[in-house]
Symmetry: C3
Subunit: 142 residues, 3 copies
């Protein structure tokens, strides 16, 4: 059993998704494992990691719209608004979508389905530099 861990930084341009599938797949390739698990973790509470459809960009646009309606900015119910109307919604969206993703490593590759992509989802209006840790655990033999 072997383990490999590396850091990624993703610069976002404000709300929306940035695909990170390639970077995570590269971490898996570099780890050199045949069978195992790959875990990606976002070190923030106002951005999250999400797995969704990777073909039609309107899926991610609709996810964004769904969140905009379900967790509206500037809702007068929020007490926590120090950093603006998108502050608390960013925390709620992050809780609903999650800070981490685990994907199997199979035959040396990140074992995603054909239409699955991994995304960093920025929930703040402004761009940020977001830190991600990718950990690969498994065996070199099949």
């Amino acid at each position: 059993m072997e383990i490999a861990q590396r850091s990624l930084t993703v610069a976002t341009r404000g709300r929306g998704t940035t695909e990170i599938t390639r970077q995570v797949a590269e971490a898996v390739a570099e780890a050199g494992l045949h069978t195992g698990l790959c875990h990606a973790f976002c070190h923030h509470t106002s951005a999250s990691l999400t797995l969704t459809e990777n073909a039609d960009p309107s899926v991610r646009a609709d996810l964004e719209q769904f969140m905009a309606r379900t967790v509206p900015d500037g809702d007068p119910h929020y007490q926590h608004d120090m950093e603006g109307p998108d502050d608390m919604p960013a925390h709620i969206r992050s809780v609903l979508t999650g800070s981490g993703l685990t994907v199997p490593i199979t035959r040396g590759r990140l074992g995603l389905g054909t239409w699955q992509g991994l995304y960093l989802w920025e929930h703040r209006s402004a761009g940020h530099r977001r830190s991600i840790t990718v950990t690969c655990l498994g065996s070199r033999e099949g």
Copy 2:
């Protein structure tokens, strides 16, 4: 430390949950580990894996009804509707409920609480064949 990985296929009959606890517990028994982690992963973006109450079927019926109201089919806000009114809701439900589950392995068994069951949740109206990968990682000794 040892690792074992196997594939499951679940045929669904359209929207709703199919219990997979037994199949995942069998993968754990076959792996022969005393202490570790078991990870199940669904290779699709319109079905998810969910852990919930395993005794009263009305819990899963109420979960279904909650999603039907919260993420309605045919909502005119959706741009992505190529495959019908249940297309985008299936992606949103999958993001909200998640593609993977990790459960401890303790004393050789899947360490679920008494009332916890693992479910594949089909979010499309039509039945599909869904692929799941189960990975068990851990040690043979206690």
Copy 3:
């Protein structure tokens, strides 16, 4: 590669979050791993584990209020209400927020971001004793 597993019990006082970051960090310290993964798992279907902002308590109050509005107690749509108006909402909140969390172990420590804390979220109105299993997997060397 090494593995260590321990149980935690958290006594809740009804709805709301109880921070468990310190207990999980202690389990990591005791495991003595340099690089790895730490997984925490809640053995219940009416309480969940959530990662969110650890500085301003109003964030957790707003999360609670968001859930109270989105998954209202006593909604006449619920069939499952044997244990009262908070019974089914507790199951839905648990599905939306998740039973488990995985966090990297980096240089011997739980690799959380500065503002990230781990919380047990009790979703029932009454207090309960909640069981959590913490599993640490990784290597002693860097």
